[in-house]
């Protein structure tokens, strides 16, 4: 166990507010057209942990695998096991997303497994970003309007995840299913991205899922 002071940043008896709380997405559920080409769902209040360390060190890579149940993914990829996903962000940086309320336990498990000798960092960034999930047959067209990155399946297969420019700002695009894409959006940009997505999805029809 390391000497770092780890505490529950959002105790379970407190209701959290997602970065899109003000948008009232819950009230929009079912109000979009039934044949909408794009369906949006906010995967809100998940546990986001940024993990840093040396992937070439077997004790780090092995410890992460043991603690998360997922192996460290290689560049530009995403590994998932159930609701837990681990994504490559940079050569020494990964994003671990765990279900709501499990971030404290996940961080403790990582610190217990990795010990106090290893040089690594685990930071809980759950309050700093949110995950938007887009699905539907027109999602790729929406992405093509929003980013200059090539989102064709031959270049952007399922399981790939990249940080890039999107709608004049930056975010992380994750391809999680054939017609399912996720956006990791920073808290301060969430409102802007929500506004952008509404505008960009207007021509295909937008429906909000719970």
């Amino acid at each position: 166990m390391s000497a770092v002071n780890v505490y529950e940043q959002r105790p379970s008896h407190l209701d959290g507010q997602s970065p899109l709380h003000h948008a009232g997405l819950a009230e929009l559920v079912g109000k979009g057209s039934a044949s909408a080409g794009i369906r949006l769902r906010e995967r809100k209040l998940l546990g986001h942990l940024v993990l840093r360390g040396d992937a070439r060190d077997p004790s780090f890579a092995g410890g992460v695998h043991k603690a998360c149940g997922v192996e460290l993914p290689v560049a530009l990829t995403l590994a998932a096991a159930g609701e837990t996903s681990l994504q490559w962000l940079a050569p020494d940086e990964w994003l671990l997303i765990v279900p709501q309320g499990e971030e404290f336990a996940a961080e403790q498990r990582l610190r217990d497994t990795l010990g106090s000798e290893l040089h690594y960092a685990v930071v809980n960034v759950s309050g700093g970003q949110t995950l938007l999930e887009l699905s539907g047959e027109n999602v790729r067209e929406l992405l093509m309007k929003s980013t200059s990155y090539d989102v064709h399946p031959s270049q952007f297969p399922v399981g790939k995840a990249v940080g890039t420019h999107f709608a004049k700002t930056q975010l992380v695009i994750r391809h999680t299913g054939e017609d399912t894409w996720q956006l990791v959006v920073r808290r301060s940009f969430a409102d802007y991205i929500w506004a952008w997505l509404q505008d960009a999805a207007a021509e295909y029809g937008l429906a909000v899922d719970a």
């Binding site: 560049a75 530009l76 940086e93 200059s148 990155y149 940080g163």
Partner: protein
């Protein structure tokens, strides 16, 4: 638009994802206190401005957010190679003078 090969991400990305960060391979003096004012001033402020090959530091700001080095031709703006920090460039003015080398991986068309 330039396509720049990020050696960390391992693929070509659009130039808007990158930010230039000046000349590469500038070692900090090991003992700053022992430097003359001129040496310290050279280290802090004076940079090469070559006409031709230039080794530069670039930041993949929108992607992996890591620095890497690039060899760029200042006349054509052609980026001849990119390589990680700590590695040595393959394309140098000396190497080009001795033989006409094929472009290394990471070169842009």
């Amino acid at each position: 638009m330039l396509h720049i090969f990020c050696p960390h991400c391992g693929e070509l990305r659009g130039e808007e994802e990158f930010a230039p960060a000046g000349q590469a391979h500038i070692p900090r003096p090991l003992d700053p206190a022992a430097c003359t004012d001129e040496e310290w001033g050279d280290y802090l402020f004076f940079r090469d401005n070559p006409r031709g090959l230039h080794h530069e530091l670039w930041l993949h700001a929108a992607g992996c957010r890591k620095y890497f080095n690039a060899t760029r031709h200042t006349i054509s703006y052609e980026i001849l190679e990119t390589y990680k920090i700590g590695e040595k460039p393959d394309v140098t003015a000396e190497a080009q003078a001795s033989e006409k080398k094929p472009l290394a991986q990471g070169a842009t068309a």
